[in-house]
Symmetry: C2
Subunit: 130 residues, 2 copies
């Protein structure tokens, strides 16, 4: 049983928007979309995003500066993430391969560094674009 996080008002508004979008959203596009709900400033958005990332409800797609809802009910904490990104249409999917995550979680650098977290972004063409 995972810890239940009760989202605050702003967090819920912003999570619902991103979740419904089903694709990565940028912070200022989120801001534009929630202004009618009373969220007026960038910082309000970034604070909610930070928290949602921390608890694993959303992930940041670093190469795109965008945020997507977690598509994998197992990853409540955002410490092992993998995505496929279409370089043509920008479609992003979260990869949930237990083989991959096991392989990467157990990977030990030759320097002996043991990792507590990783983020992997694959690029290519999705099946609609190739």
């Amino acid at each position: 049983m995972q810890k239940q996080h009760n989202l605050s008002k702003n967090q819920k508004i912003i999570f619902d928007l991103i979740d419904k979008a089903g694709e990565p959203m940028k912070a200022y596009s989120i801001l534009f979309n929630v202004q009618k709900k009373g969220i007026k400033a960038p910082l309000q958005v970034y604070r909610a995003l930070d928290k949602l990332v921390e608890i694993g409800k959303i992930h940041k797609i670093e190469s795109r500066n965008a945020f997507i809802a977690c598509q994998n009910s197992n990853c409540q904490i955002s410490k092992a993430t993998a995505f496929s990104i279409c370089e043509n249409c920008e479609k992003v999917s979260e990869i949930s391969s237990s083989k991959l995550s096991k392989y990467l979680s157990n990977f030990v650098d030759h320097s002996g560094m043991k990792f507590s977290k990783y983020n992997l972004e694959f690029f290519g063409l999705c099946k609609n674009c190739k």
Copy 2:
């Protein structure tokens, strides 16, 4: 034999700076450091960075918005990159594990997507920090 890229003046100035630094540098810190050499505008820096990334002389650390010289003489083209990042001291190393790169290059998503490129960032504590 890899293609030889003759760097232009600005590209060389900026590559030399990053290479000598031996650690990730941010674009505006690069700009500050090369102003005495006549490079005055952000765009001049970003254009050189884009080119250097394209030909694999440097890589972008996406989670840090910073650029580091390639530490792996084999990767002349920047399409399969992996880094370890210390969350305490921000030390970054390029990982060159042929096992890892083979594993990831051959990874096929369950959607059937075949990838042409990837970037992997591991996080943890380096041996000085743990």
